[in-house]
Structures are given as structure tokens and as C-alpha cells.
């Protein structure tokens, strides 16, 4: 039983981690906590749903179209909402992203209605593989694990070795210095939002496959993913993923023993971690941002 609990915890935790990475990428580059992240993923998932059910296209094509949409959406939100803001404070950024969140939720409710829908995902939660006596692993979990690892490797290589990744890190450290060095910081921000939106959309599709699709479906996962990101350290991408995995395991084991306390355990853990290590478990330095 404990093995199965850990596997389930790791699977959902990997999903939290993946979504947390989407939040962390923007935070790392521009110090903005994007509260519209969940709804950006939600809209992208609705687009996938629409393409799949209305046009009956194969899943791989719907996936490609959705990722393209997510990239454009991320760039559009950065361009329309963030860029016009004149020297906003952190609070100003938060309000802007909250406004975008409400706009996207209203848009989804208007276009697709509030009735819940089943998201026809490629990987089934019902197709299981027995990995040891009494322990099963479903296709959905395998997909989350594989994807998380691939995205982690990609981001590690991207930020470490690519010119654009290094430009992103430089922009995060000092925007003015980056500008002087010839980095087009506005373009960097735009690409950052696009990447974040893309990763968020993929994670949201995984969440939708496990629950139901409606305009509110990402509210709760976003809160948990954000909590996982703070736990691991918002400034550290591997830390965010490990934070997600830890969160999944803690929630599952705690939820098994004391189910009625499960919804708050994540937030209790955050309070404890922030009190003891404000930068999160894996961040190297403390900058007061959260």
C-alpha cells in the first residue's frame, strides 16, 4: 500500500512540479509571480479539447496546435498586459496577472460554458501496468514522469548552454546590464512567457485528463503547484520539480492517515519552510520576493 501511495504521490507531484516550473521560469526572468498561469493552461486545454472534439483531428495534431496556441498566448499576454505597464511594483504585476486570470476565465466560460467536460487525453489513467505485487502504474503516470524528466533536461541544457538561456539568466540578474550588453530584454521576456505558457499548457492537459475540464479546473492545481514551487525554491528549477514531488508524497501519505487534513497540509508545509528557509529548500540565496 505504501508503495502505491508513493507512486501516486510522485505522479501527481511531478505534475505539480511541471506546472511549478512554468511559474518559476517567469519568476526567474522577470520577478513576476504569474497568477494567470493556471488559466493560461486552462484556455490552452480548452483549445485542445475544441480541436479534438469539433474537428476530430488526431491527438498529436491537436497537441501541436495547442502548444502553438500556448506559445502565442504567452507572448500576447506579456505584450498586451505586462509590457504597457509603466514601472509597476510587484503588487502592480500581481494585480495585472490577476486581471488576466479573470479575463481568461470569463472568456472560457463564455466560449465553452461552465458544464464539466471529459478531456480525451492520449494517455489513459485506466490502462495499468503491474510493476510489483499490489503496485500498478498507469499510462498517465508514466507520461508525467517521462515528460517531467525530458523538460528538466531540456531546461537545464537550455539555461546552461544556449545563448538565449544565458540571456534570460542575465536579464533576471540585472536588466540594465543586460540591455547594455546588447540583450533585447523585451524579446527575452516575450520568449520567457511563451516557454512558460507552453509548459503550463502541457501540465494543464495532464491535470485535465485526471480530473474534469471546466473553467475553474486549474485553480486548485495552480495553488498547489505554486506551493510546491515555493517549497523547492522559486529561483531553482530543479528545486521546483523536487518540491512538487515532495509535495505529492507528503500530501498522499498525510492524506491517507488523516484525510480531513489533506487540503491544508501543503500550506502548513510552506509556512514551516518559509519560516525556516525563506528562499525554499533548494534555492542558493535568499531574496525577499514572496
Amino acid at each position: 500500500m505504501i508503495e502505491q501511495l508513493i507512486i501516486e504521490g510522485l505522479a501527481v507531484g511531478a505534475c505539480y512540479g511541471l506546472f511549478g516550473v512554468a511559474v518559476a521560469i517567469i519568476y526567474k526572468t522577470s520577478d513576476v509571480v504569474n497568477f494567470a498561469q493556471g488559466e493560461m493552461g486552462m484556455i490552452a486545454t480548452f483549445v485542445a479539447f475544441h480541436v479534438l472534439t469539433v474537428y476530430n483531428v488526431p491527438f498529436w495534431l491537436a497537441f501541436i496546435l495547442t502548444t502553438a496556441f500556448a506559445i502565442l498566448l504567452g507572448m500576447l499576454i506579456e505584450f498586451c498586459f505586462l509590457r504597457p505597464a509603466k514601472d509597476p511594483t510587484v503588487l502592480g504585476f500581481i494585480i495585472i496577472t490577476l486581471g488576466a486570470e479573470m479575463l481568461l476565465m470569463g472568456l472560457a466560460g463564455w466560449k465553452w460554458g461552465a458544464e464539466q467536460k471529459d478531456f480525451p487525453f492520449l494517455l489513459s489513467v485506466q490502462k495499468m501496468h503491474k510493476i510489483m505485487p499490489g503496485v500498478v502504474l498507469n499510462e498517465w503516470s508514466i507520461g508525467v514522469f517521462v515528460l517531467s524528466i525530458l523538460i528538466m533536461i531540456f531546461l537545464f541544457l537550455f539555461f546552461r548552454f544556449s545563448k538565449l538561456g544565458i540571456a534570460m539568466r542575465a536579464t533576471q540578474q540585472n536588466v540594465n546590464a543586460a540591455k547594455i550588453m546588447g540583450i533585447k530584454v523585451e524579446r527575452v521576456f516575450s520568449i520567457t512567457w511563451a516557454m512558460s505558457s507552453l509548459i503550463g499548457a502541457v501540465a494543464a492537459m495532464f491535470f485535465a485528463a485526471r480530473s474534469v475540464l471546466d473553467p475553474n479546473f486549474m485553480m486548485e492545481p495552480f495553488m498547489r503547484a505554486f506551493a510546491a514551487a515555493v517549497l523547492g525554491g522559486l529561483a531553482s528549477i530543479p528545486g521546483v520539480v523536487v518540491g512538487g514531488l515532495l509535495m505529492g508524497i507528503i500530501e498522499n501519505i498525510f492524506g491517507y492517515v488523516w484525510p480531513e487534513w489533506k487540503p491544508i497540509v501543503a500550506f502548513v508545509v510552506i509556512v514551516i519552510v518559509i519560516t525556516i528557509k525563506p528562499s525554499g529548500l533548494f534555492s542558493k540565496h535568499y531574496v525577499k520576493k514572496v
Binding site: 501516486e8 461552465a114 480530473s211
Partner: protein, 396 residues
């Protein structure tokens, strides 16, 4: 100037303060029309339940097409409260004080209803068939509020009895939403289990917004329950069934009537809803019953864009007793006359349970049907109208 201004301000203030009371005094009808209203979430997170308010409209259209009630047509108002009690208060106040409403019907959300029930009673506005079962609506007696919906406690008791006696299930677990709705179901189930001298093998609560239920489902699996009775919202139910499918746990699922929209539930669970047993406060929407057929045909005529589902049908069901009482009142309509007819309504049955009200008890029914979701979301009737002989409110 001051001498003039102060008295003018006092007079204006008096009119401002006193105008709502005057407006609330409107009778809600005249020689040509009877004004009936309903609030409901037409937008926002609970919008799927907004079809209840639209469903009632079908019944009023049928009545109007048949000539109205003693020469008066029904004028029906729907207001979107977005499932927000503060918004409900605002729209109800606006309707009562500006439009003059004779009666409200339906009204989704216990919290919204609780926010306005005293206001409606103070203004002597009737409220028939709230769209949720809340014991506080009817006990202590509210003279202007008449409940149609069977109490969750009664329904859970009836379903538990069915599981134990008819299905021979020995190990039952209960999975419930951590609020008044879920706890009412748990209470009804436990009282029945006590009567059988049995204990639940597990009882697990869930918060309405939780999206990961793996640990809760693992715990239900560990309990080796043969049946799980659930008192949760559609999203939690769908996640529960999907999660159980991932861990290889296949109990007999039993649920309250709130999950009896099989087409919706099958859609959001990817077909996992087949075989689930639920309570029901109405005949199946696909029933061949003449009255049901009449409503179904009317819905096709008046609202072809609407899905003929349980919630839509519920809107008709909640309004039926009011129409019956209005017909019985005759041409000399008044709130008091209608109250008298509602208080003496006996053995009235439309497409819902049999309703009996008296001047002492306004909980109209203790009965539900038991259905099972068959292939292609069809309704299989396992048991007809069944009352709860253990209903605690009957002995009050």
C-alpha cells in the same frame, strides 16, 4: 437657505428609507398577470445548475399557452446570482421591490437560499420548491416556504437500506463532501446502519475543490468496501471514479440524486458512470409517463437548444405544486388564499415525489426513486418511489 435645506433633506431621507418597504408591499399580481421569479447561476462555476431556472420557464409557457390561470398569465423573471449569496440578496431584493413578485420557485444553492429566506418571509413572498434540501428551510416552520426536495438524510437512509437489504452488501464505506450537504447524507446513512446494527467500514471527507483524491481512494480500497456511498459534487465524483480506475478499485458506487444526470456524469467520467446507483427525485427524463412526455415535447418546442436533462426537468418539478395551488385558489387571488391552498395540498404528484403539506409541516416529501445508470446513460429503475420510514422530522 439652511432653514429650507434641512427639512428638504429630512423629507428626502424619509422617502429613501421608506421606499423599499412600500415597493415590497406590491402584491405580485394584477388582473392580467402573476409575477413569479427564480434566481440561479447562469454564469460562473455552478452554471450547469442554471438549467433549473430555465426549466421552470417551460412549465410557465405551457400554462400560458393553455390560457393562463383563471385569466392571468404568468410573467416569469430569471436572475443570475452567479452562485453568490451576496448577489442572490441583491437580485431578490431588486425583484421583490421593483417588480413586485408573488412567489419564487426553485433557487439553487443552500447558502443563497439561507441568505434570502427570512427576507422573503418578512415581505410575505411565497417560496415554493427550493432546489436543494436544507432542513433549516423547513424546521422551524417558515410559513412562506414549501419544500419539495426530499431531505438528503432521508435519501441516504433509503439508499443504505437498499444496499443492505436488496443487494446484500455487508461492507459499506461513505465518501462525502465536507459541508452540510455531505454531512446530512452521512447522518442518514449512519442512522440506517445503526438500525441494522452495522458500522461503516470507512468514512472519508473531501473538500469541494480538491483535485487529487488518490490518498482518499487508496484508503477506501484498503477498507475493502463492497459499496461506497458518495455525497459529493459532480467533479469530485468524476475524479474519485477515475482515480479508483487507476488503482484497480471497483466497488459498487451509490450516490445522491445530485449526480443523477447520467448523460453528464458518463461524459465527464469517460464512461465510468455506467453501473452507478443513484437516488432520484423525479421520474427518469426519458420516461414514457404522459406528463413527462408532455414536458419533453414542450421543451423541444420552446427551448430546442436546451439539453433535456435532470436539472432542467427539476425546474419544472419544483414549480408544479405552485401552479396546482394557484389553480385551486380560483379568480380571487391573494397570498393568503394561495398559502391556504398550499398548506392543504395533499397527495399531489407531478413528475416528482408525492407532496403533502400542512400548516405545521412544510417538508413535502420523504421519498426518492432508485435508478441505475445503464448502457448509453440510460435510466434503469431499480425501485419506485420509496419513503423513509425512519425520517426523523416526521416524529417532530
Amino acid at each position: 437657505m439652511k432653514k429650507i435645506l434641512i427639512p428638504v433633506m429630512i423629507v428626502c431621507s424619509f422617502f429613501l428609507i421608506s421606499s423599499p418597504a412600500n415597493a415590497a408591499g406590491k402584491p405580485g399580481f394584477d388582473g392580467k398577470e402573476i409575477r413569479i421569479a427564480q434566481w440561479g447561476p447562469q454564469t460562473g462555476p455552478a452554471a450547469p445548475w442554471g438549467s433549473v431556472a430555465r426549466g421552470s420557464d417551460i412549465l410557465f409557457k405551457i400554462v400560458n399557452d393553455e390560457g393562463g390561470i383563471h385569466g392571468r398569465k404568468i410573467k416569469y423573471f430569471i436572475r443570475d446570482d452567479q452562485y453568490n449569496p451576496a448577489q442572490t440578496k441583491a437580485v431578490v431584493k431588486e425583484l421583490v421591490e421593483r417588480e413586485g413578485i408573488f412567489a419564487f420557485v426553485g433557487g439553487v444553492s443552500a447558502a443563497s437560499g439561507m441568505a434570502v429566506k427570512d427576507y422573503l418571509a418578512q415581505n410575505k413572498v411565497l417560496w415554493v420548491g427550493p432546489s436543494t434540501a436544507v432542513i433549516e428551510y423547513v424546521f422551524p416552520l417558515n410559513p412562506y416556504l414549501f419544500a419539495v426536495y426530499p431531505l438528503y438524510e432521508d435519501e441516504a437512509s433509503i439508499l443504505t437500506k437498499y444496499a443492505v437489504q436488496k443487494m446484500g452488501i455487508k461492507k459499506i464505506a461513505f465518501f462525502y463532501q465536507n459541508d452540510a450537504y455531505g454531512k446530512s447524507g452521512l447522518k442518514g446513512c449512519k442512522s440506517r446502519m445503526d438500525a441494522f446494527n452495522m458500522k461503516l467500514v470507512e468514512e472519508i471527507s473531501v473538500e469541494p475543490g480538491e483535485k487529487d483524491l488518490s490518498s482518499q481512494m487508496m484508503r477506501l480500497k484498503s477498507s475493502e468496501a463492497e459499496a461506497v456511498i458518495m455525497w459529493v459534487n459532480p467533479t469530485s465524483a468524476a475524479i474519485a471514479l477515475k482515480t479508483c480506475a487507476t488503482i484497480g478499485f471497483k466497488p459498487q458506487w451509490i450516490s445522491s440524486n445530485t449526480l443523477s444526470d447520467y448523460a453528464l456524469m458518463n461524459k465527464i467520467t469517460g464512461g465510468l458512470w455506467e453501473g452507478v446507483i443513484t437516488g432520484a427525485f423525479a421520474l427518469p427524463p426519458t420516461s414514457g409517463d404522459p406528463l413527462m412526455t408532455k414536458y419533453r415535447e414542450a421543451a423541444k418546442k420552446y427551448a430546442p437548444e436546451e439539453r433535456w436533462g435532470t436539472f432542467y426537468l427539476a425546474g419544472i418539478l419544483f414549480a408544479e405544486p405552485l401552479i396546482e395551488a394557484l389553480k385551486k385558489v380560483g379568480p380571487k387571488l391573494s397570498t393568503e388564499a394561495c398559502l391556504q391552498k398550499l398548506n392543504s395540498l395533499k397527495n399531489f404528484q407531478g413528475v416528482g415525489p408525492m407532496i403533502n403539506w400542512s400548516s405545521q409541516v412544510h417538508q413535502g416529501s420523504d421519498s426518492v426513486m432508485i435508478h441505475k445508470c445503464g448502457p448509453n446513460s440510460t435510466y434503469i429503475t431499480l425501485e419506485g418511489w420509496t419513503s423513509n420510514e425512519m425520517a426523523s422530522w416526521k416524529t417532530k
